[in-house]
Amino acid sequence: MIETVIRKRIEILADTPLVKVVTKAIDEAGITGWTVLPVQSGSGRDGAWREERVTGSDKSLILTVASQERAEKLSEALAPILSSHGLLLTMWDVEVIRGERF
C-alpha cells in the first residue's frame, strides 16, 4: 500500500482578468504551484454568462494543493476580497502521494 498524506485542495473561481491576483496570493502564501482550468459558462446572483473571451468577461478556475497551514494563510489573504472581486472558493481534504512536495 502506497503511503499517502492529507493536504488541502483549494479551488477558486475568478474572472479571467483577476486570475493573476489570485495566483499572486498563492505564490505569496508559499504554495509550490497552481493550475488554471478554463470555464465555459455559469449562473449566479448576477445572472447567467457565457465565455466571452473577446470582451474578457470569461472566468477561470484556479486549483492549488497545499499544506493545511499554507491553505489557511491563503484563505486569510483572499477572504477580504472574496466579495468585492466576486471569487468563489471551496476547500477540502485530499490524499496525495509524495506529500513533501506541497
Binding site: 474572472d15 482578468p17 483577476l18 493573476k20 491576483v21 448576477d46 445572472g47 447567467a48 454568462w49 457565457r50 465565455e51 466571452e52 473571451r53 473577446v54 470582451t55 474578457g56 468577461s57 470569461d58 476580497i81 468585492s84 472581486h85 466576486g86
Partner: protein, 327 residues
C-alpha cells in the same frame, strides 16, 4: 445622408450584425466558438494596422498626423470628464461606477472604427491611413482619467501603479495595432502586396462573421442584464451622439479631410468593450461589469453601427460644405 444611411443597411457587414442581434433575441443557439471570435479580432487588428501603415508609407508623414494624434490623445483624456459628470448627475451612478463607465466612453472600439471605415469607403469618403495610429493612441489615455475619477485622491497601493501603467500601455490591442502599423510602414506597398490576399481581400468577409458574433453577444448581454436603468440607456445613446459631434467639429477644425473627420467623430463616439473592461476588472474590481459592459457593448455599440456612423458622416459632410464632399 440618405444615401449613406441606406447603404448601411444593404451592406452585408451591417446585415450580419443585425442577423446576430435577431438570432439572440429569438433565443437561437447560434454561437461562434470564442477561440474563433478572438482569432478574428486579432486578424482585424493586424489587417487594419498593416493597411494604415502602408498608406502612411505611401503618403508620407505630415504635420497633420501629429496634430491628429495629439487631438486623439487629448480627446481620450478629456471625454471621460464629460461622461463622468453626466453619469453621476443624470445617471445616478456612484463615483466608482461613474469613473469606470467614463473610461469606456473616452476610449475607442476597434470594430466600430473598422465598420465606419468600410461604410465611408462605400460612400467614396476614405479615411486617411494614419487614423489607425490615432485609434491606437486613443485606447489608453481614457483608462487613466477614468481611474483618477473613480478613485479620487487615493490611488490605492503605490506598488501596483507602475504595473498597471505598463499593462495599460502594452495591452494586446495597442501592441498589435501599432506593431502591424509599423510593419506596414517598413514593408510598404510592395511588401504588403505579398500578404494582401489574406489581409485585404478577406477583410470584409471576416468582419461580417465577427459582427455576427458581436450581435449575438450584445443582444444576449442586454437580455440577461439586471443593472441597466432607463437613465443609463439614455446616456448610452446620447453621449455617443454628443461625443461624435464634438469629434467631427475638432476633426474639421484641425483640417482633416471629410472621411477622416467622420472617422475621428466615430472614434470619439465609440466606447471600448475589449481593452477597457479588462483593465477595469483588474483596477476597479468593485465596479459592476453589468453596468459598464452592457452600456458600451449592448447599447452604444449597436447604436453606433446602425445609426450613429451614418449621422456623423452626414454631419461631417454637411459642415465641410460642397467642396469637401469629394476631396
Amino acid at each position: 445622408m440618405d444615401v449613406s444611411a441606406l447603404q448601411t443597411f444593404t451592406s452585408p457587414v451591417v446585415l450580419f450584425f443585425i442577423l446576430g442581434l435577431f438570432a439572440a433575441f429569438v433565443r437561437s443557439d447560434l454561437a461562434i466558438p470564442e477561440a474563433i471570435a478572438k482569432g478574428m479580432s486579432l486578424y482585424l487588428m493586424a489587417a487594419i494596422g498593416l493597411k494604415g501603415g502602408v498608406a502612411v508609407a505611401e503618403s508620407g508623414l505630415s504635420p497633420l498626423v501629429a496634430v491628429a494624434l495629439l487631438a486623439g490623445i487629448v480627446a481620450s483624456f478629456l471625454l471621460p470628464l464629460i461622461a463622468y459628470v453626466v453619469l453621476k448627475g443624470f445617471g445616478k451612478l456612484d463615483r466608482l461606477n461613474a469613473g469606470a463607465v467614463a473610461a469606456h466612453y473616452g476610449s475607442v472600439s476597434v470594430v466600430t472604427y473598422v465598420t465606419a471605415v468600410e461604410i465611408l469607403e462605400l460612400s467614396a469618403l476614405p479615411a486617411a491611413g494614419f487614423m489607425v495610429a490615432v485609434l491606437a493612441a486613443m485606447e489608453t489615455p481614457a483608462i487613466l482619467s477614468g481611474l483618477m475619477l473613480a478613485k479620487g485622491g487615493n490611488d490605492g497601493e503605490k506598488g501596483n501603479r507602475g504595473e498597471m501603467l505598463r499593462e495599460v500601455f502594452l495591452n494586446a490591442s495597442v501592441v498589435l495595432l501599432l506593431g502591424a502599423f509599423g510593419i506596414g510602414m517598413i514593408a510598404g506597398p510592395s511588401g504588403f502586396a505579398e500578404v494582401s490576399p489574406f489581409f485585404q481581400a478577406g477583410f470584409k468577409g471576416v468582419l461580417c462573421l465577427f459582427l455576427l458574433d458581436m450581435g449575438l453577444i450584445a443582444a444576449r448581454r442586454i437580455m440577461a442584464s439586471r443593472s441597466i436603468t432607463w437613465r443609463l440607456t439614455v446616456i448610452a445613446i446620447l453621449l455617443p451622439v454628443f461625443n461624435g459631434a464634438l469629434g467631427v467639429l475638432v476633426g474639421t477644425a484641425i483640417g482633416l479631410d471629410v472621411g477622416s473627420t467622420a472617422a475621428f467623430g466615430v472614434l470619439c463616439a465609440s466606447a471600448s468593450y475589449i481593452a477597457v473592461p479588462a483593465a477595469m476588472r483588474l483596477a476597479l474590481p468593485e465596479a459592476d461589469p453589468g453596468v459598464y459592459l452592457t452600456m458600451s457593448l449592448s447599447i452604444t455599440f449597436p447604436f453606433n453601427i446602425l445609426i450613429n456612423i451614418g449621422l456623423l458622416t452626414a454631419f461631417a459632410q454637411a459642415i465641410a460644405g460642397p467642396a469637401g464632399a469629394l476631396p
